[in-house]
C-alpha cells in the first residue's frame, strides 16, 4: 500500500513511546506476543505495545490467542523490539562519505526530526559506508563485521538506510548488525527496491528521479532548443543513471540532436560545456567519478561545468541548485529525511507504518533564469523558485506597513492641521473684519468729539472767503475798480479754498472706512503731524499747548496709515480729556518719538493731568475701562488691538513730573537715527 507523504511535524503528538514507562520482563514477552499476533493476522506493520494503554488489555486477551501464537515464536523471524528502561537506538546508514550533500542533508533532517519527535530521548548513531569509493565485496564484508562488533552491546531498534546501497547492505546483514531492528529506507525508487530484493518488512519513503519531467521543464523554458546534451560520470552509479536516462528519454530525445557526454575527464566536461551551442538543453545526472577514476562530489563537478557552460543546465537533484543548474523535477533530500524519520518514530511508537511515495516538485533557481534570459512564465505550474529576490513588499512588508501607517497618521494630522489652519484663518478674517468695523466706529466717535474744532477750523477759511468775495463784489460796483486789489482778493480766496479743502481731506481721512487693511509704508512723523493738525483746533480751544520732539529722520513703518493715525488721535484726545481740571496755563500735550533696540520706533504721548493710579495701569487697555463719565472705554482697547495687529506693543505709565504717558512702538521698516 503506497501513500504520499507530507511533512507533518504534528504527527509526533500521536505517538506514545514505550520507554516512557517501566517495563518488566513480562511486558517484553507480551509485547513480542502482540507483535507476532499481528503478523499472523496479516498486518504488515511492526507494533510496539504502549503499556500504559495496552498491557491490561493484552493480559485480558484470550488464552486461545496466547497459545495459538506461542509455538510460532521459535519459528518466526527474530524481529522484536525490546526497549526496556532505556531510550531507543536509531542507526542511520549513509551510503557514501560525509561530503555527499544529498545524504548528508537527508541525514540531518532525520536527526532533527527524531530529536524533535522524542524530545531528545533517543540515541542516534551514524555510519558512513563509503560504498561508492569502496564498492569491493571485501570492504562490504569488513564493514559488516565491524558494525556487528561495534553494535554488539547496543543493538539498534531501528535502522534508517539512506539510498539503495545502504538498504541493500543492511538487508543483507541485518541479522548480525541489527538483529530484531526495524528497517526503514529512503533515497531509492520502488523499482530499485524490487531490483535489490528488499525484504517485505523493509518500509520505505520511495522517490523516483524523473529525468523526463526535468527535460519537459527545460523544453518549456527553451522551446527553440535544437540540441540535447546528457552528461554523466564513470562510476557504477553514474553509468546506471545514464542507462536509466537513455531508456526514459528515448522518445523525447528524438526531437533533438542528442549527445550523451560520458567517459570523459572533468576537464573535458568543462571544455565541451563551454562550446555547447546556445540552443542547447543540458541535463546533468551524477558525476561521482570521471573517466580517470577521480572521485567527485557530484554537485561540485556540476559547479565546474556550469561555470563555463554556454547553455542552461538542468538536473534531478536539489543539491545542484545553487551550483549552477537552472532547475528540475526533484524531491528535496530534507523532505525525504523528514518523511523517513516519521516512519521511524511511528515504528518506535508501535504505530502501523506503510511505504510512501515522495512527491517530486519542480524547483528552479531564479538567478539562473535571469542569467539565461529564461521567462518565469514558461515554468511549469507550481514551480518553486529558490533565490528569488523578494519584492519590496515581501522583504519589507512590516516597514512598508509601518511607513504607510506613519504616512497615513501624518496625513490625518496634516489634514487636521489644515482644517485647523482654515478655521483659524476664518476666525482671523472675522476678527479683522470686526476690528475694522470697530476702528471705523472709533473713528466716527473721534470725529464726533472733534466736530466743534473741525467746524471752527473750517469756518475760518469759509468766513474769509465770504468776506473777500463780498469785498470784491463791492469793488466791482465802483466806477474804477482797483483791479490789483481784486486780483489779490481772488488769490486769497483761492488760498482759503485750498485751506478748507485740506481740512475736508483730513476729515475724510479721519472717517475713511476700511474693508481691508491698506498695508503701506509711511513715515510715522508725517502721521503725527497730520494728527496734530486735526487735534490742534480742539487743543487751542481747550488752551492746550501741543509740542512734538524726538527723532526727526524718516521713521518708516508698515501698517494702515489711517489706523495708526486713529491710535494717535485716541491717545491724544484721552490725554486732552485728562487735563480738563488742570489750570489752562498748565495744559500741555507732548508727542515724542525715539528709536529703541530691536529696530523699533516708539511714540510717547504725555499730558499734564493727574496721571493714572498705579493699580490701574495694567487695566487701562481693557475694553470698557474708562474714568470719563461719557467715555465708552473702547478707545484704548482699540488702540491696543491696532498696535498689536501691526506687531507693536502699547503700555501706560506716569511721568515723574506728573501726568500720564502712553507709549507704543512699531517695527521699523528702515532704521533711522535718534536725535
Amino acid at each position: 500500500m503506497a501513500r504520499q507523504f507530507d511533512d507533518h511535524p504534528g504527527r509526533t503528538s500521536e505517538r506514545a513511546f514505550p520507554w516512557d514507562h517501566l517495563h518488566t520482563s513480562t511486558d517484553t514477552v507480551l509485547c513480542s506476543i502482540c507483535y507476532y499476533g499481528s503478523v499472523l493476522l496479516g498486518a504488515r506493520t511492526f507494533m510496539v505495545c504502549n503499556w500504559k494503554v495496552r498491557s491490561s488489555r493484552i493480559v485480558r486477551s484470550s488464552a486461545a490467542f496466547f497459545f495459538l501464537v506461542l509455538p510460532m515464536l521459535a519459528a518466526g523471524q527474530a524481529v522484536s523490539m525490546e526497549i526496556v528502561g532505556r531510550v531507543p537506538r536509531v542507526l542511520i546508514l549513509y551510503p557514501y562519505d560525509e561530503r555527499i550533500a544529498a545524504t548528508t542533508e537527508a541525514g540531518e533532517a532525520v536527526r532533527n526530526r527524531l530529536r524533535e519527535g522524542t524530545a531528545g530521548k533517543v540515541d542516534i548513531f551514524s555510519e558512513f559506508l563509503d560504498l561508492t569509493r569502496f564498492p569491493e565485496k571485501a570492504h562490504v564484508e569488513k564493514m559488516a563485521h565491524f558494525l556487528t562488533d561495534k553494535y554488539r552491546d547496543r543493538r539498534p531498534d531501528v535502522v534508517i538506510a539512506l539510498s539503495d546501497e545502504s538498504a541493500s547492505f543492511i538487508a543483507t546483514h541485518r541479522n548480525t548488525v541489527a538483529p530484531g531492528a526495524r528497517i526503514v529506507t529512503t533515497g531509492l525508487s520502488r523499482s530499485t527496491a524490487g531490483n535489490i530484493h528488499l525484504p517485505g518488512d523493509v518500509i520505505g519513503v520511495f522517490n523516483k528521479d524523473d529525468i523526463v519531467k526535468t527535460l519537459e521543464m527545460a523544453r518549456g523554458l527553451q522551446p527553440k532548443a535544437r540540441h540535447l546534451f546528457i552528461i554523466g560520470g564513470s562510476a557504477d552509479l553514474d553509468r546506471a543513471w545514464l542507462a536509466t536516462a537513455r531508456a526514459d528519454l528515448a522518445d523525447l530525445a528524438k526531437n533533438y540532436e542528442t549527445t550523451y557526454l560520458e567517459n570523459v575527464t572533468i576537464d573535458e566536461f568543462v571544455q565541451r560545456a563551454a562550446r555547447f551551442p546556445p540552443d542547447s538543453i543540458v541535463l546533468a545526472l551524477t558525476i561521482f567519478k570521471d573517466s580517470t577514476g577521480r572521485n567527485f562530489i557530484p554537485r561540485e563537478a556540476i559547479r565546474q561545468i556550469a561555470a563555463t557552460a554556454s547553455a542552461p543546465i538542468y538536473g534531478p537533484y536539489p543539491t545542484y541548485i545553487d551550483h549552477g543548474i537552472v532547475g528540475g523535477n526533484m524531491v528535496t533530500f530534507e523532505s525525504l529525511g523528514l518523511a523517513v524519520a516519521d516512519l521511524a518514530l511511528d515504528a518506535i511508537a508501535g504505530n502501523p507504518i506503510v511505504s510512501v511515495d515522495a512527491a517530486p516538485i519542480y524547483i528552479a533557481d531564479a538567478r539562473q533564469l535571469k542569467r539565461w534570459g529564461l521567462s518565469e512564465s514558461d515554468l511549469p505550474a507550481g514551480t518553486v523558485q529558490w533565490f528569488k529576490e523578494k519584492t519590496l513588499w515581501e522583504e519589507h512588508w512590516l516597514a512598508v506597513l509601518t511607513t504607510i501607517a506613519v504616512i497615513a497618521a501624518q496625513g490625518v494630522v496634516i489634514a487636521g492641521l489644515l482644517v485647523e489652519r482654515r478655521r483659524r484663518r476664518a476666525a482671523e478674517l472675522e476678527l479683522r473684519v470686526r476690528l475694522l468695523e470697530l476702528v471705523h466706529l472709533n473713528q466716527s466717535a473721534t470725529a464726533g468729539a472733534l466736530t466743534a474744532s473741525i467746524a471752527h477750523e473750517l469756518n475760518q477759511p469759509l468766513g474769509a472767503i465770504r468776506s473777500n468775495a463780498e469785498a470784491g463784489e463791492l469793488l466791482l460796483r465802483g466806477e474804477t475798480p482797483d483791479l490789483n486789489l481784486i486780483k489779490q482778493i481772488l488769490v486769497d480766496i483761492k488760498d482759503d479754498d485750498q485751506r478748507a479743502g485740506d481740512i475736508i481731506t483730513r476729515l475724510r481721512g479721519l472717517l475713511k472706512k476700511r474693508s481691508e487693511i491698506d498695508w503701506q509704508e509711511f513715515d510715522l512723523n508725517e502721521v503725527i503731524k497730520s494728527a496734530i493738525k486735526i487735534l490742534r483746533p480742539e487743543a487751542e480751544r481747550r488752551s492746550i499747548v501741543i509740542s512734538c520732539s524726538g527723532a526727526t529722520d524718516e521713521l518708516r513703518v508698515r501698517a494702515d496709515r489711517v489706523h495708526i493715525q486713529q491710535v494717535i488721535l485716541n491717545l491724544a484726545t484721552n490725554a486732552m480729556d485728562a487735563m480738563l481740571d488742570v489750570a489752562s496755563t498748565e495744559r500741555r500735550l507732548k508727542f515724542q518719538t525715539r528709536l529703541t533696540k530691536g529696530s523699533k520706533v516708539e511714540l510717547s504721548i504725555s499730558d499734564t493731568g493727574d496721571g493714572i493710579p498705579g493699580e490701574q495701569l495694567v487695566g487701562v487697555f481693557d475694553p470698557f475701562y474708562t474714568t470719563k463719565p461719557t467715555g465708552t472705554g473702547l478707545g484704548l482697547s482699540i488702540a491696543r488691538m491696532i498696535v498689536e495687529t501691526y506687531a507693536g506693543k502699547i503700555w501706560a505709565g506716569n511721568n515723574p513730573e506728573g501726568g500720564a504717558v502712553i507709549r507704543f512702538n512699531l517695527p521699523l521698516v528702515r532704521s533711522g537715527c535718534v536725535t
Binding site: 477750523e457 469756518n459 475760518q460 468766513g463 474769509a464
Partner: protein, 122 residues
C-alpha cells in the same frame, strides 16, 4: 466807496480772516486797525477807535475776556463778536458781557456792516 470817519479795530488770530475782514471794512469806507491777539491789542497804544470787532477764540486771551477787561477798565467801546465756534453757551456769555452783535463765521458782509452802523449809532 466814500471814506468814512470811523476807525474799526479788528482783533483776529487767523491771519486770513483778519485780512479779509479788514479788507471788507476798508471797501465800505472804514479805517481799520488790525490786531492778531487780545494781548496784541492791549500792548499796542490805541489811538482813536470807534468800534471793536473781536474774535471770540483768540488762542491766548479770548475775545470775551478782553471785552471784560476793557469794560472793567471803564471802556464804553461798542463790541461786535465774531466766532468760528459752534457754541451757544459762548454766545450767551458774550451777550451777558454786553455786545452789539454776535456773528458766526462765515457771515454776510451786510451783517457786519449793519452791526457796525448800530454800534456807531449807539
Amino acid at each position: 466807496m466814500e471814506k468814512l470817519p470811523w476807525t474799526i479795530a479788528v482783533v483776529e488770530d487767523d491771519p486770513s480772516m483778519l485780512k479779509s475782514v479788514q479788507r471788507l471794512l476798508n471797501v465800505h469806507g472804514y479805517t481799520t486797525q488790525a490786531y492778531s491777539s487780545a494781548e496784541d491789542y492791549l500792548d499796542r497804544p490805541v489811538t482813536k477807535i470807534d468800534c471793536l470787532v473781536l474774535d471770540v477764540d483768540l488762542g491766548g486771551m479770548s475775545g470775551i475776556e478782553l471785552q471784560r477787561q476793557l469794560r472793567d477798565a471803564g471802556s464804553k467801546l461798542p463790541v461786535i463778536f465774531m466766532t468760528a465756534l459752534e457754541d451757544d453757551a459762548l454766545e450767551a456769555e458774550a451777550a451777558r458781557a454786553g455786545c452789539i452783535a454776535y456773528l458766526r463765521k462765515p457771515f454776510a458782509a451786510a451783517s457786519l456792516i449793519n452791526a457796525i452802523d448800530k454800534a456807531l449809532a449807539a
